[in-house]
């Protein structure tokens, strides 16, 4: 039997999966549809997926002209990139030390990492806000990036990954003349791409879509991240112009969707972490 034959079981399985996918995609599809509708279309009593008058050009033009999209996207990229780079640069040596070096505080650090995983940003938001206010750092990239520079989740993820790396590999590297930093740069990182990819996806998605923290520390449009910009857009400009709002949403989600489609293979690889076998 060929693996592609459409047996009954396969059809059932595929339909269940398709139905699930459709369910999860429905809001997004509806958003794409709404982005192409005129105001009058949206507020008709019937629910149409295909717009009656194609209004895409107008809605996108409106979205693009009324808020400064380039600034929003640029801020999003800068903030996410800075957060990601700092998180990785801090988390990898930290996880390496905890996984492979022997030192007395290792146990205590492990407990701290676990505790860190338990505390949500919402619990620390207020003290952080007060602190940033005191040093006059509100409305800056620093305020957007600094609270996330140490990712306990990242440390935890890399820790698990590094623990599985053979000790002998690190011993060999030391005998070959590498310093600890050299071991990280030349041996650990090149073999940790699956973990780094997986972590990058989690980090970028979380911070690109984050509204909570930017809303707290940013009030100046110049530092607004995409979701925050969307909020301004709705409040100040669009009112109930949902077509333009959906068009704007489409614009700010498109980089992530594009990135995902391009990196789909690595994404799956990273999630399943099958990098170092064989």
């Amino acid at each position: 039997m060929s693996p592609n034959a459409f047996t009954l079981g396969r059809i059932v399985r595929l339909s269940i999966l398709s139905l699930g996918a459709l369910l999860f995609l429905a809001p997004y599809i509806f958003m794409i549809s709404t982005a192409g509708k005129a105001q009058s279309d949206i507020f008709t009593s019937s629910l149409n997926l295909i717009p009656q008058h194609w209004f895409y050009a107008e809605n996108f033009a409106k979205a693009w002209s009324r808020v400064h999209m380039p600034t929003l996207l640029f801020n999003g990229v800068i903030v996410c990139l800075m957060i990601l780079v700092i998180q990785v640069v801090i988390a990898i040596p930290c996880a390496y030390a905890m996984a492979k070096l022997k030192f007395r505080a290792a146990k205590a650090m492990m407990v701290l990492v676990m505790l860190g995983l338990l505390v949500p940003i919402h619990a620390t938001a207020l003290p952080l806000y007060v602190a940033f206010d005191r040093v006059g750092a509100l409305n800056s990239y620093m305020a957007l990036v600094a609270p996330f520079s140490i990712s306990v989740f990242g440390i935890f993820l890399f820790l698990q990954f590094f623990r599985a790396m053979p000790d002998d590999l690190i011993h060999a590297a030391r005998l070959d003349g590498m310093s600890e930093i050299g071991v990280i740069a030349r041996v650990i990182v090149p073999n940790a791409w699956p973990a780094i990819t997986a972590f990058s996806i989690f980090s970028v998605v979380a911070h690109w879509n984050d509204l909570y923290w930017p809303l707290i520390v940013v009030s100046d449009q110049a530092y607004a991240t995409p979701p925050l910009g969307l909020l301004y857009f709705r409040a100040a400009e669009a009112g109930d112009d949902y077509g333009a709002l959906m068009a704007a949403t489409l614009i700010i989600t498109s980089p992530l969707v594009a990135a995902f489609l391009i990196a789909q293979k690595r994404f799956v690889e990273g999630i399943t972490m099958t990098g170092l076998k064989g």
Binding site: L169, H171, A173, L175, P190
Partner: protein, 389 residues
């Protein structure tokens, strides 16, 4: 010419005393095999020697210099790991080049893209390439240089690991069971190759294995380590013929040595069931427990006559050039193993009554603490001409 000396190395892991005072001297150019059962601390000792782990106490002296406080990289010791530990993301050529790059290029000369502009860098890199290719040629792995470890067989990886360790001409060479992942044929072949490489390089080598055949066939001297202590360090022949400890006798030799425990009576006479044997060591106090040992090739099996101890054959194994006979002594119920020629073993089968004997000079006597007692233990049998033990 390097010399290496370890004295009284101790190591514990969380209350477990793993190395109990190991002392060892390696002469220039010597090949020493370190054998012992799994878990006796062989790898731990190598790691301490290499500087990857630290000893609780003891001294390591290389060329007259105490190196305990020195970093692994500065001891100029190379090691081949049991798992080979090749860098998975680098090709064979890059793997072999790593120790040279780390040693010969300065930090700035290693910066990608910019480095070739630095004076001297191109020449150094060219030399590294040349040395890598020479090394690869001498190990016959030239055709593998562009492959990554994942695309090589176990034997090929083992050679690349060997090349990576040898390419920088280390002062001391450590190998931790480098052949244990190979199949039997390849292992025998690789044995010869490693010995040949060692002879050419002349670097003192400490070779860890738990395969006694490897140790006996390759090494100048064999160190037998059991339970964290070095019980004997001697030439292979001496280790086999003249073990100084019962554990050494048990560990070395295939099939394993026959051992019978007993106790001394007055005047150094030893009882074996109803039989009596006299020991040369007459000073042995009556009641002392002793163990007698004899290697299987020295046990004579005869079907006629009344010399020797009566026994019954339990099982016969035919191995081509020789036959292994398992027979149970009637007097004490111990099973003895005898290695005989096919002619001697003809007609033996389960249940055949036989008599076992051994020449006195082949019988070893061990005391209760396991140490070998007298050098020529049995002079004569009190009852019969020769008794087996």
């Amino acid at each position: 010419m390097t010399t290496l000396s370890l004295s009284n190395i101790q190591k514990s892991f969380g209350g477990n005393h793993i190395l109990k005072g190991v002392s060892l001297d390696v002469q220039p150019g010597e090949f020493i095999a370190l054998v012992g059962p799994s878990g006796c601390g062989k790898s731990t000792l190598l790691r301490i020697l290499a500087g990857l782990d630290s000893a609780d106490s003891g001294e390591i002296v290389i060329n007259g210099r105490e190196v305990s406080g020195t970093q692994a990289a500065d001891r100029n010791i190379a090691m081949v790991f049991q798992s080979y530990a090749l860098y998975p993301h680098l090709t064979a050529a890059q793997n072999i080049a790593v120790p040279l790059v780390m040693r010969r290029l300065t930090r700035t000369q290693q910066i990608p893209f910019v480095a070739p502009l630095i004076p001297g860098q191109r020449k150094a890199v060219a030399e590294i390439h040349r040395d890598v290719r020479e090394m690869a040629a001498s190990l016959k792995i030239d055709h593998l240089l562009d492959r990554k470890p994942g695309q090589m067989s176990g034997g090929q990886r083992q050679r690349v690991a060997l090349a990576r360790a040898m390419v920088r001409r280390p002062a001391v060479f450590l190998m931790d069971e480098p052949l244990s992942n190979l199949d039997a044929n390849l292992r025998v072949h690789a044995r010869g190759e490693i010995v040949e490489l060692h002879r050419r390089a002349g670097v003192p080598t400490l070779y860890v294995t738990h395969d006694q055949a490897e140790a006996l066939s390759m090494a100048d001297r064999v160190a037998v380590m059991i339970g964290g202590s070095l019980l004997q360090l001697a030439a292979p022949q001496v280790i086999y013929d003249d073990p100084q400890h019962i554990e050494v006798a048990k560990f070395v030799g295939q099939p394993r040595i026959n051992l019978v425990s007993s106790h001394a009576e007055a005047n150094g006479v030893v009882a074996l069931g109803t039989e009596r044997c006299a020991l040369a060591n007459r000073g042995l106090a009556a009641g002392t427990s002793v163990t007698l040992g004899v290697r299987s090739e020295f046990v004579r099996v005869s079907r006629s006559g009344n010399a020797g101890l009566p026994a019954h054959v339990e099982r016969v194994e035919f191995l081509g050039s020789e036959i292994i006979v398992y027979s149970k002594l009637d007097a004490i119920g111990e099973t003895m193993i005898a290695k005989v020629t096919p002619a001697e073993g003809a007609g033996l089968g389960p249940g055949t009554p036989v008599r076992l004997s051994a020449a006195a000079e082949h019988i070893m006597v061990f005391g209760a603490d396991g140490a070998r007692l007298a050098s020529a233990p049995l002079v004569k049998s009190a009852v019969k001409e020769v008794a087996y033990a």
